[in-house]
C-alpha cells in the first residue's frame, strides 16, 4: 500500500562529483518497497521547485532505512544534495510495478550510471530467492563514477563486468559492447535481461535483445508530476498492437523492452 511519509535523513553520502546516496529513515515505505519501485520526493517546502522528483529505490534495510541514488541535474536534486542528517523530507511510495524476477533461471543485469539503483535491488532479491545465476554489466562515463555505483555487488558474491566511456575502468566503450560479446553464450530459453540506464543505452539493449530473441525488461524514467497516475503526464509511446501511450508511473516503470516505441523516446 502506498503512503505519504515524513522521512528523516540518516546520512547523505557523496559518491563522487554530483553523485549522491541519500539514506532515509522511512519505515513504512522501506518495509514495502520492491525492485524497481520508486518514490516521489519533495525537494522543497517552497513553491520552487514545485513538483516532487521520482527516484528508484536502491536499497532498504529491516531497520526501516530506504536509500536512493541521485545525480545533481537541476534545482530539485541540488536541494536534496544539501540535506543534512535529521532533516526531513516528504516521500510518497512505494509506487509503480516491478521487475519480474521469476521469469528466468538466469539473469543478466545491465545498468548505466545511477540506473544501477533498481538493478541492484533486483540483484539482492534474486540472491535472496536463490537458485538463479546473475551477471551484472554496468557502465558510466568514468571509473571514478562507476566504482562506487557498483561496489555493492561484490559483497553479494556477484562479479561485475564494467565499461567506461573514458576507459579508466573496465572495457573502454559501451556497456552494450559487453552484452554483444556475451551473446554467443546466452540461451534465450534460460536467460532474461533486466536493464536500467540512459534511454539510448536501454534502446540499444532492447534492439540487441529483440534481434537475439532474449526476454528483456527495462525500467524507464520520465518527467513526472504526480507519480500516482492522476496527471497522465509521464507518457511514452507504445509499440505494435499494444497501447498507443503508456504511463511510466502506472504501467511501469518496468516494461517489456518490446512494448516501447524507442525511436519516439529518443527524440
Amino acid at each position: 500500500m502506498k503512503t505519504v511519509e515524513r522521512a528523516r535523513v540518516k546520512r547523505i553520502v557523496s559518491l563522487g562529483r554530483n553523485l549522491f546516496r541519500l539514506d532515509l529513515h522511512s519505515p513504512q515505505i522501506a518495509g514495502q518497497a520492491w525492485p524497481a519501485s520508486f518514490v516521489m520526493a519533495r525537494t522543497s517546502e517552497a513553491t520552487a521547485p514545485l513538483l516532487c522528483r521520482p527516484f528508484s529505490v536502491y536499497q532498504t534495510t529491516s531497520e526501516g532505512e530506504l536509500q536512493i541514488l541521485f545525480r545533481v541535474v537541476g534545482q530539485g536534486t541540488a536541494n536534496l544534495s544539501r540535506l543534512r542528517p535529521d532533516d526531513e523530507i516528504s516521500l510518497t511510495g512505494p509506487l509503480g510495478n516491478g521487475f519480474d524476477l521469476g521469469a528466468r533461471k538466469e539473469f543478466i543485469l545491465i545498468a548505466g550510471g545511477v540506473g544501477v539503483a533498481p538493478v541492484f535491488m533486483a540483484a539482492k532479491q534474486i540472491v535472496r530467492n536463490g537458485g538463479t545465476r546473475i551477471t551484472v554489466m554496468a557502465g558510466a562515463a568514468t571509473g571514478e563514477e562507476l566504482e562506487p555505483l557498483t561496489a555493492g555487488f561484490a559483497p553479494l558474491g556477484i562479479d561485475c563486468e564494467l565499461a567506461t566511456d573514458d576507459g579508466s575502468l573496465g572495457h573502454h566503450g559501451l556497456v552494450t559492447d559487453l552484452l554483444k560479446q556475451r551473446l554467443a553464450d546466452v540461451s534465450p530459453q534460460r536467460t532474461g535481461i533486466l536493464c536500467c540506464g540512459p534511454a539510448p543505452m536501454m534502446a540499444a539493449v532492447a534492439g540487441i535483445c529483440e534481434q537475439a530473441g532474449i526476454w528483456c525488461q527495462v525500467s524507464l524514467e520520465t518527467m513526472m508530476a504526480c507519480g500516482v497516475s492522476a496527471c497522465l503526464g509521464c507518457t511514452v509511446a507504445g509499440r505494435g498492437n499494444g497501447k498507443k501511450y503508456l504511463h511510466v508511473c502506472k504501467d511501469g516503470p518496468v516494461f517489456m523492452a518490446g512494448e516501447i516505441e524507442w525511436k519516439t523516446l529518443l527524440t
Binding site: 508530476a225 492522476a230 496527471c231 501511450y245
Partner: protein, 306 residues
Amino acid sequence: MENAPDLKTAIAGMTLRNPVMTASGTFGYGEEFAELTNLHRLGAIVTKGISLAPRPGNPPPRVVETASGLLNAIGLENVGVQAFIDAKLPFLKNCGTRVIANILGDRVEEYGELCAILSGVEGVDAIEVNISCPNVKQGGIAFGTDPEAVAAVTKTCKKNSKLPIIIKLSPNVTDITVTARAAEEAGADAISLINTITAMAIDAEKRRPRLANVIGGLSGPAIKPVALRMVWQAAAAVRIPVIGIGGIMTADDALEFIIAGAAAVQVGTASFVNPRAAEEIAAGISAYLERHGLDSVAALRGSLRL
C-alpha cells in the same frame, strides 16, 4: 471540538461537508488517492474530464515544470463515459464524499449527450462542464472564449440533465464577467474558475518547445494572483455560487479565494506535490474560522475589506 465551526457548504443544490474539492485532472477518479488521503474528509471529488469516446491524449512530452508552475498538454486523455460508469464510478459511489463528474466535448451535442448519460446513473452528484476545449464547428475556437458558445453549452447541459450544472470558465478571455454572466443567464447552477492559462515554454539550447503540443495550460502557484483577480470579478458579476480554482496550495490560499467571493474552492496541482493537500486545507480553513470567531464559511465569503 464542541464548537467547531460548521464547514458545511451549500452549493448548486448540494450540501458539501466542507468547501474544498479536488480539481479535475489532478485527482484521477479518486481511487488513485484512496491510500494516500482520507477521501471522506473532502468536500467533493471532481473527476478527470470525461468525453463520450475514450481519448488517447497528446504525444509526449506532456508536462514541464516552470517557475512555481506546471505546464501541461495532456490532451484530455480519458477512458470515455462508458468505462467511467463501468470501471470508475463503482469506487466513487462508496468513497464517502460527493462526486462531481467533469465533462468535455468538441460539439455542443456531445455535452448534451454526456449530461443525459450521467444523469441516468447513480453516484454522480453534479456535473462540471469543461468549456476550454476547441469547438469543432467554430474552427476550433474554445467554447469558453465565446459567450454565445458558453450559453449554448450551458443550455444544452441544463436541458439534458436534472443534476446541478457547474460551468468551468476559461481564463483565456479579455473580460471574465462576460462569460460568467453568459453561463448564469443560460441557467448554470454555479461557475468554477479558473481553468489553466494558455502558456508555453521553450528549450533555448535546442530551440524547441518543451511540450510536444507546443502550447499547454499553466497551473500551480504561478497563476494564483490571476485566478484570484478573476474570481473576485466574477463573484461581483453573478449571483450564482462561484468556485475558486488556481494555484491553491495552502489554507491561506483557499481563504483568499473565499474572501474574494468564492463559495467553495478546488485544489489542483497541490495534490501532486502533497497528496493530502485538499484534506489539510479543509482542516486549515476550520482552524482559521475558529481563530477568527466565525461560525461558518459563508460568514467569510466575499468579506474583502476595501
